[in-house]
Symmetry: C2
Subunit: 205 residues, 2 copies
């Protein structure tokens, strides 16, 4: 996560700039929450990381849960973009390879927001949680149905497609636990290694 916010708070008539600033704050908040955990990360910590006073931070958000929801909503929109891109691919094997590639790149590049999407759901309100679970399900369903299609074509290894989908997501969502972009390995190299691992796990030679 490279977003570093250094400019002071400024109110502007230009809504795009204000939106950009809110997006920057969300990314910085995501980094802080990723490092400390949602419960331990205080609004003071987040304000400090954004170079804002706590009052300045409240200009952009109504509170920590609002920030969390916006981070998760942002992460979810990345996942939904992937789903749209992949769902139009007719060949099931190509579709699976694209789902794997897109999801890895989003997780590895998403600045911790996807890790929060998978780990901090309990801190949302019940209504927010239900909405996000529903949106997540759509992507899981696309993956599951692709694996079922591959099974029917005899292209899937001898695995239960539903459990295979869960193992696949677990492997990808776990990347932020061991990979930091500062390491000597690029995101592309990580993507190649994890993709290769998953292709071998799932697809017949």
């Amino acid at each position: 996560m490279s977003a570093q916010v250094t400019s002071p708070v400024r109110k502007t008539a230009n809504s795009t700039t204000a939106e950009d600033r809110t997006a920057e704050i969300c990314l910085t908040a995501a980094r802080v929450i990723c490092e400390k955990g949602y419960d331990a990360a205080s609004m003071n910590d987040i304000a400090a990381a954004c170079n804002l006073t706590k009052a300045g931070l409240y200009y952009y958000t109504t509170g920590k849960q609002d920030l969390l929801y916006r981070i998760i909503d942002y992460a979810m929109s990345l996942v939904e973009d992937n789903a749209r891109k992949c769902s139009v691919i007719i060949n099931a094997e190509e579709r699976l390879r694209m789902i794997i590639h897109c999801h890895i790149m989003t997780v590895a590049d998403g600045g911790g927001s996807i890790a929060i999407l998978s780990e901090e759901m309990n801190a949302l309100s019940p209504e927010q949680r239900e909405e996000i679970i529903e949106r997540k399900r759509a992507f899981l369903d696309l993956t599951r149905s692709t694996l079922h299609e591959l099974k029917a074509q005899g292209r899937l290894n001898d695995l239960d497609p539903d459990i295979a989908a869960l193992n696949m997501f677990t492997t990808i969502l776990g990347i932020p636990r061991w990979y930091r972009p500062s390491r000597e390995l690029s995101t592309e190299q990580i993507a190649e290694q994890v993709s290769s691992f998953l292709h071998k796990a799932l697809l017949k030679n």
Copy 2:
């Protein structure tokens, strides 16, 4: 996690019974911490789940961090038992299969303690954390060296052995995120599915 604690606090001269009771409390605390997260789980929640008053709970522990350390120490001892069992196997492929099998069974059966080992390390004191990281490293090293050995023998798929080890652990440690023993699938069936997924991912046919 099936440990249900229903008996009231009782002081006993029989140290084994007292130790069993402490172990039961740790397992129940593990379940509560797993469900709520360490920060959100209060000593009141843990006491209630143990059918104890808060004062009764403090008879067994000095506080929440002490409980967390005991849970993680317990989880680590299960991992170390696995390492001992596996390290004596001379054939690298058999050793890998045994590491995978043992670790999956421990994670799926360990009542959430292994999930806490992987997710709540930050809440330990720096000294406790350092100790646990050192103990974890021994198991990771055994796995890494096994994968390097298989690479040298031409038995590993075309993968970086160190990244493959991380993917492997991520997949196994993620099991508690999607598997609850109450589902229609037994732990053995889960172990078979996840093992098969990992064998295909790692080993040449």
